[in-house]
Point group: C2
DNA sequence: TTCGCCAATAATGTGCACATTTTCTCAAGG
DNA sequence: CCTTGAGAAAATGTGCACATTATTGGCGAA
């Protein structure tokens, strides 16, 4: 590290984007299940990885902790949450309650353009399943539920939905590290059919059962705690590369 | 827990509580509508008020901003959000969607103890209304909706519900600063009746109309932006008093 | 060996100094 | 009178030093 700088290396304006980039990168790693539950994220190590100050990492970690994506234990460190069985129950019940409300509104207010987008998404899911593209199937499966809530055009609902999905992603990677049991495309298709018929009761039941299936599958498996070299899962953010050239 | 160390000014564990106390105090002021929308919360002023370092205040403010309770504008400061008309629409739609999901579950799963708690709450609301206790009526009115979600015993749902309520509280204080148009007790009572009969359709309609009424009332009024001496609304937190004696 | 204690090391928590940016003040010029 | 701009003042942003706490490693006694 340089001892004292006569001038600022970068203007202050770029720093906000830098924060955002680091935040997005860690969020992505969690959402994609690339960080094992229980993994510790030491501030020094991350600061070195992203080539920023420790304070900057600290701020991002605490922000993620406020969103329950990470867990900060005072004087101990920051960890990827290790969801308990009760956490699974809480999160999936929240998913069910939340989507029930979404469906109740969609049945009353959806239009053709929304149905068209849902149909297009189902086609993409079926195509990924036919090709056997597992990673894409997982991604689309989660995106289906986001599509439902985004159709309402409500930023608050979308934000909360993403927080829930982020947390269930960690659970999936904990409880089923090996097999790829994604949402069945058939269940998504049946739900869309019920929506098209504006059949509230049927749509509610299908959504509820859908999340029940996922939750049940999770509880069958056992958690396999293990350590992990987290450094490998992060992609470099733009600014860190830029600064690396100066050294 | 006893202080063994030669000279601990304060035990390190107390600091977490201190953060929490300041966070709770500002949250309370927002929830109670004691902070006018648009009010700036300067870091060094708050630091002086609570008698803590500016960094500590800073952390709390950014945490509240992450929950959308406050708004941080880079290099400008932290402000109580000034909700736009579209914000009102988004928040109250979120309320409706969210409570619809809650009701759908409550109708299927509630038991006598939950109904008893709801009845007791209604009695308290009616009592406050009869006594003309406006502040208590406002508080109980918001608490009714929290009681509904808390009945599910789901921390995630409760947390999100409180975030929403916190944001709508600011809106109420912005758009109707004078009159006390709280939730009508009758509407709460009718909703409880529908729940008791396990009438999903009726309960959904009542909840929806209830929030529609509140939102409509808000939109009739005009925002009255004005400055405010925020220092008067904060109560001292324990630790700040303790330290004040040393000066 | 194994347990427990203590020093050594590493990691987190925090106050502070200083850099950067914005806002305020005021006066000169159109 | 209004506008504009330069400098001062005030507020926010950030890196760093140091305090505090947890973890590790080692050493001696049962």
């Amino acid at each position: 590290m340089t001892a004292k700088r006569p001038r600022p290396i970068r203007s202050g304006k770029g720093r906000v984007d830098l924060d955002e980039a680091i935040y997005a990168e860690i969020s992505r790693a969690i959402l994609h299940g690339q960080l094992q539950a229980g993994t510790k994220l030491p501030e020094h190590k991350l600061a070195e990885l992203f080539d920023v100050s420790r304070e900057r990492i600290r701020k991002v970690l605490h922000r993620l902790a406020a969103e329950r994506r990470l867990e900060v234990i005072p004087n101990r460190g920051t960890f990827v949450p290790r969801p308990s069985g009760d956490d699974v129950r809480v999160i999936y019940q929240a998913h069910r309650v939340f989507e029930a409300g979404i469906i109740e509104l969609l049945v009353r207010t959806m239009d053709d353009s929304i149905m068209a987008r849902l149909d297009a998404h189902l086609a993409a899911e079926r195509d990924a399943a036919r090709r056997g593209d597992r990673a894409e199937s997982v991604r689309l499966s989660g995106a289906f539920h986001l599509l439902l809530v985004d159709a309402l055009g409500n930023s608050e609902l979308s934000r909360f939905s993403r927080e829930l999905l982020s947390r269930s992603s960690v659970m999936v990677s904990v409880y089923e590290p090996a097999q790829s049991s994604v949402c069945a495309v058939d269940e998504h298709g049946a739900l869309v059919d019920a929506l098209r018929q504006r059949d509230l009761t049927k749509a509610l039941a299908l959504s509820r059962e859908h999340y029940d299936h996922i939750e049940q599958r999770l509880k069958l498996d056992q958690a396999v705690p293990r350590h992990q070299d987290f450094a490998a899962v992060f992609r470099p953010v733009a600014a860190s590369e830029r600064r690396s050239r100066n050294r």
